[in-house]
């Protein structure tokens, strides 16, 4: 193939990629645009830049409550999953561990199964135990769901650490807790942080499991879903834009932390 036709192909591929990106992101851009300009019955007032919708959003108590519930749910479920993932990874890596494959299956399954199955199973489980649904049940549901992500990252990190590191610590007189605190935790910290961010974004927009487990509680995705039936107000554009910026920030942090081979920065 000659140089010019190669260049032609590359240019064409570039245009195609640009077109795909444009189609994918146009709604997002339009949503963000409509959150800062005026839209009236007569058309779009391109000159009318205003942050009015953001102000309106700030006064919408039901949305703010949903955001707060979502943040609480995400923070709690991620914290719970961090503790569980470290404990499980340590156990699976221990030479005397039994039922390794079963544990891994149990950890990964809720992430791989359709959320509708996970949500429904948990709903039946809680109903049979007579546990009333609310924020606590959503937290449990999300923990089960995001555990797989944290577990995978923690386990990979743990497996990359030489066993002599912990032997050396014990050899120098450290108890198990001292080894955990001074040697293991500093080595796991970055993997846990990356996993926590990923798990947080998953929990933040999780909808299906929440539907089954919410009871009277309302998370942000559930609130938006409910609003779909009565129609959106333009302040939703403001909310979506804020969520988008937040997600982009988290994604950038994660991608900066991950090296190409999937390892974490120190």
């Amino acid at each position: 193939m000659s140089l010019s036709s190669e260049r032609l192909a590359a240019t064409a591929a570039g245009f195609l990629a640009a077109a795909v990106l444009a189609v994918l992101y146009a709604p997002v851009v339009i949503g963000a645009l409509f959150s800062v300009i005026e839209v009236t019955r007569n058309g779009i007032n391109w000159g009318g830049f205003s942050l009015a919708w953001y102000g309106k959003l700030w006064q919408n108590q039901s949305i703010l409550d949903a955001v707060r519930t979502t943040l609480i749910v995400s923070a709690c479920s991620v914290s719970l999953a961090i503790v569980l993932s470290i404990a499980l990874a340590l156990y699976v890596e221990w030479e005397g561990a039994i039922g390794r494959r079963l544990i891994e299956l149990v950890v990964y399954l809720p992430f791989l199964l359709p959320p509708i199955v996970t949500g429904l199973s948990l709903l039946i489980f809680f109903a049979n135990l007579g546990i009333s649904r609310g924020v606590a049940t959503i937290v449990i549901g999300h923990s089960v769901f995001v555990l797989a992500v944290l577990y995978r990252l923690v386990l990979t990190r743990l497996q990359s650490l030489p066993a002599t590191l912990f032997e050396a610590s014990a050899d120098l007189g450290a108890t198990r807790w001292q080894t955990l605190r001074h040697v293991l935790w500093p080595q796991l910290r970055s993997a846990v942080a990356t996993g926590a961010i990923l798990a947080f974004t998953l929990s933040f927009d999780e909808t299906l499991i929440s539907v089954f487990l919410a009871g009277d509680a309302t998370t942000l995705p559930l609130r938006l879903w409910a609003m779909m039936r009565v129609g959106f107000t333009p302040e939703i554009n403001a909310l979506v834009t804020l969520v988008l910026l937040f997600s982009i920030a988290l994604a950038i942090i994660v991608s900066l932390r991950m090296k190409p081979e999937g390892e974490m920065e120190e």
Binding site: S169, D171, H182
Partner: protein, 352 residues
């Protein structure tokens, strides 16, 4: 009252990696466990360090039974083959770790760490991180981290294996010198027999999970007790033979039984060190062997000669002699007489 192992053994399922072993190390002794991979040498070290538990027997130190004492409560420290430095800690924190977990005050730790790093020749590197150090420097940090706790015994697991040849020779002398200065017993594991000869007070030679021989380097070199030791430890000429009527009979030569050997008739292995054979001269009770020269090689200080005895051409004899430019060497294919003194020969029992 140093380290004592009594009938210590280790199995993984049906596989026994260490046969029941008895071993003693005196206070202040440099004891080396030498053997090929899979000989069980590292297993012994890991059992002594408390990283694995024996499936039988007792490990004692100074009269105290340590068999069930966990690693962190044993008065030993280990230098690992991969050094196992904590990557997230500076050199100072690595070396001070053993003192920190014991609850020593920060200022006292700093003091002791500085002094210890000077002992191993690394003063001034306190704030570096392991990733910024060369192999030799990491090695010294690992050593400093072990000696700073003032253990009764230091365990070293092939600590020189990862270093280049020059650094390794340098570290051999450094380790031996350090061991004398701190007057602490070293239990050193290696597969390198040169390392073992240079540094050890005593050597334990192991093969297939068994101790083959324990002794001073000279004893093991000149009086190997088993065919394995005779083969593994330095170059040796090994000739099968029989003891009969106070003489040793082989296909290569017959000669008087060396003083101190049992006269009982039996098959034996005759081990003759290459440097104990010389060209010519059957005088003074030396045993002469008529040979055909196969090859001569000048290697610097030494010249090597390979020859086949006329009486047993299937055997090759290796001779090492001091190079001498004034002395002509026999040509390849020429016939020459080699000789050795019968009392420099080791009679190795082939066992039952």
């Amino acid at each position: 009252m140093g380290l004592s192992l009594k009938a210590v053994e280790k199995s993984y399922g049906a596989q026994r990696v260490l046969q029941p072993v008895d071993l003693e190390a005196a206070d202040g002794e440099f004891l080396t466990i030498l053997g090929p991979s899979g000989s069980g040498k590292t297993t012994i070290l890991r059992l002594v360090g408390g990283f694995t538990r024996p499936t039988g027997g007792h490990i004692r130190f100074g009269g105290t039974d340590l068999t069930d004492v966990p690693s962190h409560k044993r008065p030993f420290n280990t230098v690992f083959q991969d050094y196992a430095l904590f990557p997230h800690m500076s050199v100072a924190d690595n070396v001070g770790y053993g003192l920190m977990v014991r609850g020593m005050a920060k200022a006292a730790i700093r003091d002791k760490v500085v002094r210890t790093l000077e002992v191993v020749g690394l003063g001034g590197l306190l704030d570096r991180y392991p990733s910024q150090l060369s192999g030799g420097q990491k090695q010294r940090v690992a050593l400093a981290r072990a000696i700073v706790c003032e253990p009764k015994l230091i365990l070293l697991d092939e600590p020189l294996a990862a270093l280049d040849a020059e650094m390794r020779r340098h570290m051999q002398f450094f380790l031996k010198d350090l061991q004398r200065r701190i007057a602490t017993a070293f239990l050193f594991v290696t597969h390198d027999q040169e390392e073992a000869i240079t540094m050890s007070d005593r050597i334990v030679v192991m093969d297939k999970g068994r101790i083959e021989q324990v002794g001073a380097p000279g004893d093991i070199y000149y009086a190997p007790k088993t065919p394995f030791v005779a083969r593994f430890f330095g170059d040796n000429n090994l000739i099968e033979g029989n003891v009969r009527d106070g003489r040793v009979e082989t296909a290569v030569a017959n000669f008087a039984l060396p003083a101190g050997s049992r006269a009982e008739p039996r098959p034996v292995l005759v081990a003759v060190r290459p440097e104990k054979i010389s060209i010519g001269g059957a005088d003074g009770g030396r045993t002469a062997i008529a040979c055909k020269v196969e090859e001569t090689t000048f290697t610097g200080a030494l010249t090597q000669l390979k020859a086949r005895p006329l009486a047993a051409p299937q055997t090759t004899l290796l001779v090492k002699m001091t190079s001498d430019p004034g002395r002509p060497l026999p040509e390849r294919g020429a016939e020459t007489t080699l000789s050795f003194a019968p009392d420099t020969v080791a009679i190795v029992e082939v066992g039952s």
